[in-house]
Amino acid sequence: MAGPEFSPGARNLAAMELRIDREAVDASRALARAIVAPISDFIAAHSTVSVERAVARLLGVDGTGGDDVPIPNLVGERLGFERLSTGIARWLGAGVAETGAAPAEVAAKLIGGSLHAETLAGVPDGAARAALAPYVAGGLARLDERRRERKVLLARLPQAPPPLLYVIVASGNIFEDRTAALAAAEAGAQIIAVIRSTGQSLLDFVPYGPTTEGFGGTYATQANFRIVREALDEVSERLGRYVMLTNYASGLCMPEIAATAALERLDMLLNDSMYGILFRDINMKRTFVDQHFSRMLNARSGIIINTGEDNYLTTADAVEQAPAVLASQFINEEFAHRAGLPDEQIGLGDAYEIDPDREDGFLYQLAQAQLARQIFPRAPLKYMPPTKHMTGDIFKGHLIDAMFNLTSVTTKQTIHLCGMLTEAIHTPFLGDRVLSIENARYVMNTARHLGDEIEFKRGGIVERRAQEVLAGCRALLERVAEMGLMRAIEAGVFADVKRPADGGRGFEGVLERSPSYWNPFEEALSSPRAASFTGVTAS
């Protein structure tokens, strides 16, 4: 059921084809495969505390215990690394077999102390697995049910054609965020991102319940997901078009957030295979293992992932970083395919971050956006707005956003993050969001078919720039393939940041799988699909 419910638009590329070196594209894909393959082997041999907690959540374990520590964390701690290395499912299954109670109760008993891990050690694996089987089936059924709901809603309440207008709400209070989300939807937003508080990505647990505080956003919690999802479902009915919801997975809890997002029918998740490593100093092994399982869950629940290439551009020069962005897109694509994500669910990122005062900067942006469009024709590309060069001059900023909007509609991007004229000042006000949506709607309407009307001069600035970026990307991937991805990151090849393989946050939560390791959901989700998809790109 590979995301046919999404129509990232059978994009008409006929119009504005740039001549690019197809051989370089295929070579880059092959390189990405070579780069990711060894990481996959590492992933296959490891798990993390967050992966295991996600498994528990899918089995219905939720809630918090003493001083607000989430039950999944308490169970994990109670079992300890040793036992977790065989998989949390095995222990919960044993508990079910032993007590006949549901996994949630088993978890409670374990924490409460009325049930001891020692006693469960005796339960034979076979019995544990058998006992857990119905709950595993139940968990998968819930994911599939949410996905079916989305499919039905999308069929009945079709979205307006892409670029899909995406705005953030970030008041720091989930209830104000809900108000903001509804207003934005009415104004024409098709995707709402609820921004989480600074620092959440460094928490090794998922906060619980509705939250009304945070800086630059409020927490990503299952309750907050539900509050906004329900509000958006209502407004979707009222507007006659389905309004999507998204949040962030990246961080120390990628698998758990992927699980809760699936349960609350989020439609997209920020989920990058390297962002946490490079931009949050999260341990690379932890991130690689976490992103894989979280993406398997995304795949099954029909959630479109959004990758974070824009981050390369906010910290360094956008013109220089263009090849790195493309290289990262190839790597993200490969990791995604291996987790079973079809192209239609891979929202590769890019951003409009070239210095607005650079002559012909707009042509460079066109070149890069069109290049991505041609190299990833079926991917719902995620196009980020100008941010770094936005200043307190909201009038100039509004214009830079307009040129970004024009680039997006002309190159047929799919997921369009609306730029805010107040980007340099504050998280968006309700009025800012309206102005930014109106900006996109005006520009995209008045220039709707520009992309179908024009062709680029052969050998002109635009075409030469595209060639140059592609060549640079290939060279970069060759270097990485030689060194190996982990060594490359240690050496600071990406975004000029060096991260030691065994340093960074969350390394302690990486588990080597014991031979008897068992993760029933991974089993269920590693259908032939994953394989077949890597196949797809080969062809």
Partner: protein, 245 residues
């Protein structure tokens, strides 16, 4: 009952407002601070100068965000509109036929040196505005469109000679209060000529509000986005009342 509201940024009651202005001083960090203090003196709090820069020798431009402690009671505001509950063209003609019993004569002009006729034309011409037919299209109106740059004297003479029922004056240029000056001149001359009581006097233009028009002694005022039918309905109903009385 009263409901006081303040500007809304991202939280109810935060009072957030955006301002921009030019100061006749050269830019410097001190200029930013001057802008901050100025906005604070205006009564705002949490004043943040988001942008301050030189725009020309002796001039600096600023973009400021700040919170206003001021609120307004929205329930204390009577709807300041002359727009009668909407009537269809047929209803208007019907109303005039029954209650007035004769055709109603309407004269419109863009007065003074103002040549912006698009607005008054939108109200009077057959074609109308935004799909809403103009007064010329109504059976029961006899419409005269005197056009642009009509001296107040000429308009009043025309009203007298043709025993006009409703006088429509348009002013689009508002610089230095030219609109108010001309509107006032018209009202006073009609008064002086003893015609004021006999006519329905209506002002219109992008800056006109019903409140302003009333202050200037007009029966009604219509502003941005007025539709001909709004005006037709108002005239018909006033005429009906007059005849009733």
């Amino acid at each position: 009952m009263s409901r006081v509201v303040k500007p809304y940024g991202d939280t109810l009651g935060d009072g957030k407002v955006q301002l921009s202005f030019t100061l006749p001083i050269d830019w410097s960090e001190a200029a930013d601070e001057a802008a901050r203090q100025l906005v604070a003196k205006m009564g705002f709090v949490d004043v943040a100068v988001a942008e301050g820069r030189r725009v020309a020798s002796g001039f600096s431009f600023f973009v400021v965000y700040a919170s206003s402690p001021t609120g307004v009671d929205v329930d204390a505001i009577g709807a300041p509109t002359a727009k009668a509950h909407v009537l269809s063209m047929e209803d208007v003609d019907g109303l005039i036929r029954e209650r007035v019993g004769r055709k109603v004569s309407v004269a419109g002009a863009c007065i003074g040196t103002d040549a912006h006729t698009v607005g008054i034309d939108a109200i009077l011409n057959m074609k109308g505005y935004k799909g809403d037919y103009g007064l010329e299209r109504y059976k029961e109106f006899v419409t005269y469109n005197l056009g642009s740059q009509i001296a107040v004297e000429d308009l009043v003479r025309f009203v007298k000679v043709n025993a006009i029922d409703a006088v429509l004056a348009s002013q689009v240029v508002t610089q230095k209060g030219s609109d108010v000056t001309n509107f006032t001149a018209l009202a006073e001359l009609l008064e002086a000529e003893g015609l004021r009581e006999r006519v329905i006097l209506i002002a219109g233009g992008p800056r006109v509000t019903n409140l302003l028009a009333n202050e200037l002694g007009y029966d009604a005022g219509f502003g941005r986005g007025t539709l001909p039918s709004d005006v037709a309905a108002f005239i018909a109903q006033r005429m009906a009342e007059h005849s009733a009385a």
